[in-house]
Symmetry: D2
Subunit: 344 residues, 4 copies
């Protein structure tokens, strides 16, 4: 079975395993206060061009989302999110478990735009009874989105401008950040992301690391107490150096972006194979997730050799499948898949 069902099927870049081996018996302080973490922090701040950012390392995505969001909101505030946002649909109510409502905006493509924020903001502050309504306290988006789409620089700049006008901090979930930035359709680099939000995270779990997410808090007002929230939520790793080592390796010699580019190349080959054969897509994605619409009969045929996700039903006979590539996807496996697509 060749697996394309998600982007965390394998371990980590061999460079990381090697570094774990080399440093294994070095003694360091705990809780990410060691030299490896400091090295990784420096590299990240340099590449993001944010010398005053606070960089902290957490283990996984849900943990990161709930910690960041709970650290920003007041208890009676909620977080604005697209309806398809990961925090709204795939975290078992982690955000609500910290006491906060997810304020959902339903948009056609799952992206939020300045006008959406403006509207929810004005509706709240125009309401005379607003003490009875959850106050919007921040904005959550992901880049790329759950649907594999990306924001253009202009879209993000406009969104962030409005967020600042509304005094709503903007948080970008970058679980697949590398796969967004290396998309051929992207007109941003990581410093553009850093410049156009208050806090974001660089996903490691899905992009080359064994595990780990690097939170970059660029807004200095949000930095102060973040580590207390981490510890209280069980999100401060004892051997924090493991996170530092991984991000240090990922941001050495452009590794993070090179492996992301590989995933994109593999995804584009799959996209082309489906397109050439006349298939439609649910979303026109140029990132590492592809959502072709396929007949159930053909899906069954593919599922003998390949694993993938069933995204949603289209009608009685057709469904949307999701194929993911990653830093670890082998080109020979992609070639096999392409061959089988051609023969469908």
């Amino acid at each position: 079975m060749i697996r394309f069902e998600c982007d965390y099927l394998e371990g980590a870049c061999p460079e990381i395993i090697k570094k774990f081996e080399e440093t294994n018996l070095v003694q360091t302080q705990g809780y990410s206060e060691d030299e490896y973490c400091d090295l990784a922090r420096e590299k990240i701040k340099r590449i993001c061009k944010t010398p005053n950012a606070e960089v902290q390392f957490l283990v996984g995505g849900t943990q990161t989302n709930m910690t960041v969001i709970a650290s920003i909101l007041k208890p009676y505030q909620g977080v604005i999110s697209p309806e398809a946002g990961h925090i709204n649909v795939h975290e078992t109510g982690a955000i609500e478990s910290t006491g906060h409502k997810v304020l959902v905006i339903n948009t056609k493509d799952g992206k939020l735009r300045d006008i959406d924020i403006k509207e929810i903001y004005e509706r709240y502050y125009d309401d005379e009874n607003r003490q009875h309504v959850v106050q919007p306290g921040m904005v959550y988006i992901s880049y790329p989105t759950e649907n594999g789409l990306i924001y253009s620089k202009e879209e993000l700049q406009n969104l962030y401008k409005t967020c600042k006008e509304c005094k709503l901090p903007l948080y970008i979930d970058g679980a697949r950040l590398g796969y967004g930035l290396m998309s051929e359709k992207s007109d941003m680099d990581i410093s553009d992301i850093a410049r156009n939000c208050d806090v974001f995270y660089i996903g490691g779990t899905k992009v080359g690391a064994l595990f780990g997410e690097a939170v970059v808090i660029t807004n200095e007002n949000l930095q102060e107490n973040f580590r207390y929230y981490m510890k209280q939520g069980g999100a401060m790793l004892a051997k924090g150096r493991l996170l530092g080592i991984q991000f240090d390796v990922l941001f050495e010699n452009n590794l993070y972006f090179d492996i992301s580019k590989h995933a994109i190349n593999m995804a584009m080959k799959i996209k082309k194979a489906f397109t050439d054969k006349g298939y439609q897509f649910l979303f026109d994605s140029y990132t590492n997730q592809q959502f072709p619409i396929i007949s159930n009969k053909e899906l069954k045929k593919l599922s003998d050799k390949y694993s993938f996700s069933l995204w949603e039903k289209v009608d009685e006979n057709n469904s949307v499948a999701r194929f993911c590539t990653s830093w670890a996807t082998k080109e020979e496996n992609v070639n096999k898949l392409i061959k089988d697509i051609k023969e469908l």
Copy 2:
């Protein structure tokens, strides 16, 4: 200014004030463990035909909703609610503050039906990744709804049958229960409500009391620990007898239903006045809330003498207003309003 903007503008039925006066210096135990509360409990259980129900008294609606819901759900569960449900839109995130997501169903008229429950239930249990999704744990509706509509007995029976099949306790928010039951379109009495849910509350604040809601827990599995939740949430009134006295008076000599009927009569007069004059309504309500669609110019005219709520904008020139009647609405005031409607 004559006020129709909500149904809690005045104090309480004079019978209640009188009983407060009479009993004022009697000494009783605290925390609703006194004889007045017991009397009220007995009356409520008799009229509901639920001898084994647990009846507890709380002070207000939001407090009651959050206490009941938190007492039923497991931490990783959410409560299914219509999008317009009070818990979803007008309680400043009280439910989320107890850690639970409100799982929203969007229906045209704001009522939930068996098929809605079935669908959300099956979607959850058909999902292989359901450990990542909030588990539906109960169902919330209100009777009448926020829009003034009521469920027929058949609708409620079907809904409850499905809830039981799905093992989802059904909770009915009866903030305006009397105004639903005394509607000319209602085919239920209070024992039908009691028989077709696991827990509901009889609203006092909006129906004749100074304050207070009587929670009736008919499902014996949900009774055991309710008072702990009350105390922990600051919802156990020290002089609990004040609640007992009020409900004792309300359920003496059919008072609760008589005063509710009065409110309905007043509302129907207003409805007729608007209808006769050719106005449309947003919802075809036969309860104490009326939602006529009126031009902004006419609204402005009415607002010189009357207060009411602006429910929503229809277009540039027209809006939906909400006029509420209650147990305390004076017929002379209604007559004045009707006269002015005629002259619009």
Copy 3:
């Protein structure tokens, strides 16, 4: 049975019932935004000499404590409290239910002193691993204490000075405030309380009202969002005017203090009766709670006619009882009790 077991056995001062009657059918806005509330607010601010205070009305003590404390603390902070503090022992974990630890200080008499605060503050900030420890975020005391004791002005001034040095807001639970201030041993008036803390509440439930507590937030930094916390916690009364009316009556013509003085007079008569007969007390209280140490045999005898609390066992044969007086205690009942004490 004549009852002395607590101070909320009866209804309210007749003046309050009368005012409820008079105002019953007046129409007002909800949620404490009416004119009665404003009148009460003005009177309270005047007598407290705090023109810039924010005054809000809640229904009960536990509700008030949890709302005030949750509105002040950051999620990773805790509240310093004496071990015997009401929030630590008699609120079913209400504070913890909002996510906060109660940081307990054990002192001989249940009072906190400047040195206790200094010590817990320094221990925290001297700890290199303090990110792993709950951060002290505020201080809670009650006046009078659970044991019926009061702070002298000097004690309170010193405590507050230290709190300010440590940047720990001081909150005074005044459930029995009147009974402290009218004690013959008190050297403070209500403006001294207001001047020496950041927020306190004036207890109504135990001092003349049917229910209700008036929160006075003197520290302007803590005022802004308090009403959101109230609503989210189900602590915003729909007919808020009921609270305004009660506090308006209580602060008319010195009523609050006059009725408090009556309770103290009754308590001192009981104290004298026990003292004259040679009984010892667990605490030397000059407020409305008296804690005589009595043999179990004598307690049993008294319990035929009187109800009181069993506070704690002293040894096999003796116990501490608690006798409470209140604004409603009848002198004839006290005289009967005194007669029976004499004949023990």
Copy 4:
């Protein structure tokens, strides 16, 4: 600088790093539903002699404690813990952040005994006002304790017997489980632990793993929904196999116990060195933590070459230090320390 300040200074057993390398590009399912996790589960259940246990893997200790405890308690319940318990003092209020009070018992040696549980249980159920008090819902101990002490089999059996009589599930925090079981004073093996509690965890972070704790839920009533709590708390690792691989290696060929034994041997050498030289200890520990009482002057001298924790001040001139060994402690470093102790 040679470090003895804690037991998580290095990476992991080389066998684990090697296995990570070997399996790195194998594709597996996520969220601990892979074959490595299943292998580890089988080994753990076999060695614990608990074929029906549920075994789940989490990343760290605080995360494990808060997830297990929140999964067992009802919202109005608290967890009984020794005052020195890790959950009470070193987790930044993580337990309270889930809404639960830690019910503290102060014992001389930091261990809980049957009689302590009996007493807190009876005090609660004898209290007529217990609805106002946090209900004890479970018991937390650690093995070994924070002070390095262990329970004898008889002590644990008695404790568990009482817990069962009181219907209080017993949870054992085994962050250093191996170091307790391999102590020369231990009269238990891991199956004795499993047999005498409802749930415990096998610490990996401090005992040979890079990170990871294996929760063993022996009480079948507590198993059902544990994974929902994990996901909701951000405690479900995406590449869960990393945890399975580590525990599979640790429980292959007795590795977990062999490396634990090494740590104990190293600790006993240090203990002997201090004893021989006439030093006293704060606790008579036979596990991997040693607490000698040393003059500040001598401590300063040692601190030139060695790092250790300052546990507490004894008096002006003397302090308690904590020296930890672990699976990774090098004998040559211990020998250097011993030499320097001799020369103090």
